[in-house]
Structures are given as C-alpha cells and as structure tokens.
C-alpha cells in the first residue's frame, strides 16, 4: 500500500495526473469506499486492502469529463470493465492514468457472515503485505481466525486471471485464487426441474427491494437515463407499485448488459439482500459462449458484441 501511495504522490507532484481515484477507509474497517484524492495530503486516508473489492472503472465515466488526467487503480478484472467502457466511448483513455494493482482475492464481511463469523469489529491479515493466508477477526463475542480463502468473494474463486487488458503501469503481485468453474452454479440450476428453478429464483428475486444498488454499481449499466426511469417505455420506476417489475427489471437488466457484462460480480457484491444476481448474467455469458463462440466482454476495445452480430446458421430460438 505504501508503494502505491509513494508512486501516487510522485505522479501528483510532477503534474502527470490531476487527481487520484482510489479507496479510502469507510465507516467500518470492512467497507472501504471509492474516493477522489486531489493532493498528497489527502492520501493519508487512502487504503488498499483485501476489502477493496469495488470496481473503480465506472467512476471513470465521470472522471473523463473533468479537466486533466485521473489516476485510477484497477485490479485485473476491473481492467476488462474499463476496456468495455472504452469500446462504448464512455471513458476517455487520454484522461486516464491506469495503475494496475496486484490482487490476492477480495474478501467481504458477507462472506465472513456466511461462514458463521458475525458482528465483526475489526479484521487483521487483509493488508496484502504477506501471502494472505489467515485472517484474525475481532468480533463482539471475541477473537477468531479463518483462512483468507474462506472469506473470499465468489467471483475470486472463479477469477478470470491475473492479466491486465489495459494499464499504464503495474504495481504489486497477484495471486492464483481459482478453485472452481464459474459456470458450475449455472449448470447446477440448469439441471434442476423447471419447478425447482422457478422456486429458486422466486425465493431469490422476492428479496429484491428495488434499491438499485446493482444498477448503480454495474459498469455496463451506465446509461445516462435508465429505461426503468424513463417515460419512453411507460416503465418509469414505481417502487413496488407493480411487483412484476422487479422480475422484469432483473431480466431486462441482464439482457441489456448481455454481451457487455464482464462478469465483474459487483452486482452480487453490493446487493444488500444477498441476491446472487451474477447468476443471471452468467447464464447469458454461458449461452453466448456455447451458441456463438467464446466471447469475453472487455477483452478487446474493438469489434461488435454477440448481440450486435450474427451468423447465417445461428441456433433457432426455443431450441436451446
């Protein structure tokens, strides 16, 4: 972390960048939040640890409108999102100075809760200084430990890799965190009977409170005006007035980002209700890969997406 701060200070001082987009300590030690830093002094609040899961690429849409260059820290998976935004002309490459930061897998309080560690006060061992093996957690009921790996976000277990698709310089090492196949969960659901699938999604989607956190965090969901807030479809948001809309919202949201979603997993990470929203996006990714050939959104900043291209012999609807 100190290395990041030192380099940032240099870049601010020599005028390469006008500001820095990074993370700062939040209300709780487990939720650092995205923040701008305009000078070396303010960097005292800067953090980069295992809880910094937030994907900063979406903020670059806004930063591209500001004067001067913005330094942004992107983890390997975040660079795909940035690249996809680049392809869609939503961010300005010239306005960004990208430092690719090492990633050893991101952890979350929700993951700790899931393994039975609740009422977390503080966590040690997530500073990324060592090999990230063990976490020591202080809770209201006393101290406990767990393996770093067990507190990792689902997306890190199926991480796409340590490669950065776009950057100006790299700082820090990344670790191999993969111990699963990212389509396993989708396959599991596909193998269920229609009734079971229905019951599963009914249970999950019923939890939705339409807080729009998934939409707001998603780098692909970056419309100036969302169709669900628009009068153009007579679908303007009427919170909970018509509950069908929740389901429609999630299906359409997944559809709108199909072929553009980089599977960054932010939607599931931020969902306060813990809905596994990534399962919808991954279904589209899986279908696209199976039907139209492997495609990875954000891998390239050029070319058409699966839904803006076709072949003459594509599969017929309803046959898959």
């Amino acid at each position: 972390m100190q290395e990041l701060i030192n380099r940032t200070k240099e870049l601010l001082a020599d005028g390469t960048v006008a500001r820095v987009l990074g993370w700062r300590r939040g209300d709780l030690p487990t939720n650092p939040e995205p923040a701008y830093f305009n000078d070396g002094e303010s960097l005292s609040e800067f953090v980069y640890n295992g809880f910094c899961g937030a994907n900063l690429s979406k903020y670059m849409i806004e930063a591209s409108e500001l004067d001067g260059r913005t330094l942004v820290f992107l983890k390997p998976c975040d660079t795909y999102s940035f690249n996809q935004l680049l392809k869609e002309n939503r961010v300005d490459r010239e306005k960004a100075y990208i430092i690719g930061v090492g990633c050893k897998g991101k952890i979350s309080e929700a993951s700790l809760n899931a393994i039975g560690i609740k009422n977390v006060i503080d966590v040690k061992g997530a500073e990324l200084t060592d090999a990230c093996d063990t976490l020591t957690i202080e809770t209201l009921t006393g101290n406990t430990t767990c393996a770093y790996r067990d507190a990792m976000l689902e997306r890190c277990h199926v991480c796409r890799g340590k490669e950065y698709v776009v950057y100006d310089e790299l700082i820090g090492d990344s670790a191999d965190t993969v111990d699963g196949d990212r389509f396993d969960e989708v396959r599991k659901i596909e193998a269920m009977s229609p009734e079971e699938r229905f019951a599963f999604f009914k249970a999950e989607l019923s939890k939705c409170i339409r807080c729009n956190a998934c939409r707001n965090v998603c780098p692909a969901c970056s419309c100036r005006k969302c169709v669900f807030d628009s009068t153009k479809f007579d679908s303007a948001q009427k919170a909970n007035s018509d509950s069908f809309e929740e389901k429609m919202f999630h299906i359409i949201r997944a559809f709108h980002v199909a072929g553009r979603c980089t599977d960054c997993g932010e939607c599931s990470r931020v969902c306060p209700q813990g809905i596994p929203l990534h399962l919808l996006n991954r279904k589209f990714i899986k279908d696209i890969n199976t039907l139209y050939g492997d495609f990875c959104a954000g891998e390239s900043a050029e070319g058409a997406t699966p839904l803006t291209s076709f072949t003459f012999g594509d599969a017929e609807p309803g046959t898959v």
Binding site: I189, E190, P194, E195, E196, R197, F198, A199, F200, F201, K202, A203, L205, S206, V227, F233, S235, D242, S243, F244, E245, E246, K247, M248, I251, I252, A254, F255, A258, L280, K283, F284, D287, I288, L291, Y292, P306, L307, T308, F310, T311, F312, D314, A315, E316, P317, G318, T319, V320
Partner: protein
C-alpha cells in the same frame, strides 16, 4: 382464483408480426379463410428486430399467457439482416425465461413468409393448443411473489 372446470380456458396470446412477411402471411391466412382461434391478437411491427424483450415481458406482465413472434425467414428479411439480430435476441431471452423456470412453451418464434398463410394458421393453432395445455400463466406473475 380457482379455474372453473366447466369454463373453457381462453388464453391471451400476443403475436408480433413483421410487416413484410408474417403480417402478409396472416393476411393470406385470412383471405384463404384458414381459421385459428380468436385468442391470438396480432401487433404489426416493421421487422422482427423491432421486437424489444421489454414488449414481451410487458405482455406477460399485463396478463398474456403466451407470446409469439413471427418474422421473415432468415435470409429473406426485407431489411436484409433484421431477423438475424432478432433470432439471437430471442434465443437468449427465451433461454433466460426457461432458466428462471417459466414454461418453455409460452414463448415461440416462427418464420412465416408472405406466401405461407397455411403455415401461419397452423402455427397459431398449434401455439394456442400448447398454451391451453400449459394453462394460465401464473409463473411470470408469481415471481413477483410477496412471500
């Protein structure tokens, strides 16, 4: 509301037809007096690629029991490529609906040319039968599920 066993279930079915092939195919079915159930109501769109997944979900939201989209045969699109995009969109959308547990048969795409009045009528007869066998569409409505 429980279904009255004596009353025949009459589904609500929305058919999106492209102006150039399928709408004309439906016209031909009409002028050839090839009957199909009155449950099918046609909405004319310029091309199958005009059909937004939003329209299909909206129909279900408002109580449709089945939605079918008809367009020109691949390769014969009046706008050359429209139905190819529509095909990908609908393939993915239908797969998603199936994934979340909505019955597979409630959505359908059929390519009907202007000369295929017989096919249009046969398709609609078949589709209505299918929807009747599936019964009222409760799942898409039920996902709303105030539990």
């Amino acid at each position: 509301m429980p279904m009255n066993d004596n009353a025949e279930f009459r589904p609500k079915i929305v058919a999106f037809c492209c102006n150039w092939c399928s709408y004309a195919g439906a016209d031909l079915a009409g002028s050839s007096r090839l009957t199909y159930p009155a449950d099918v109501k046609i909405i004319k769109v310029p091309c199958s690629c005009r059909v937004n997944p939003m329209f299909i979900l909206r129909a279900f939201e408002k109580g449709a029991d089945g939605v079918i989209m008809c367009g020109c045969h691949p390769g014969d699109c009046h706008y050359s490529t429209g139905n190819y995009y529509a095909r990908r969109r609908m393939t993915l959308l239908f797969s998603m609906l199936d994934y979340i547990g909505v019955e597979h048969g409630r959505t359908r795409v059929e390519w009907v040319s202007a000369a295929e009045g017989v096919k249009f009528s046969a398709t609609m007869n078949e589709f209505v039968e299918k929807i009747k066998s599936l019964g009222k569409n409760v799942r898409l409505g039920d996902l709303r599920c105030r539990s």
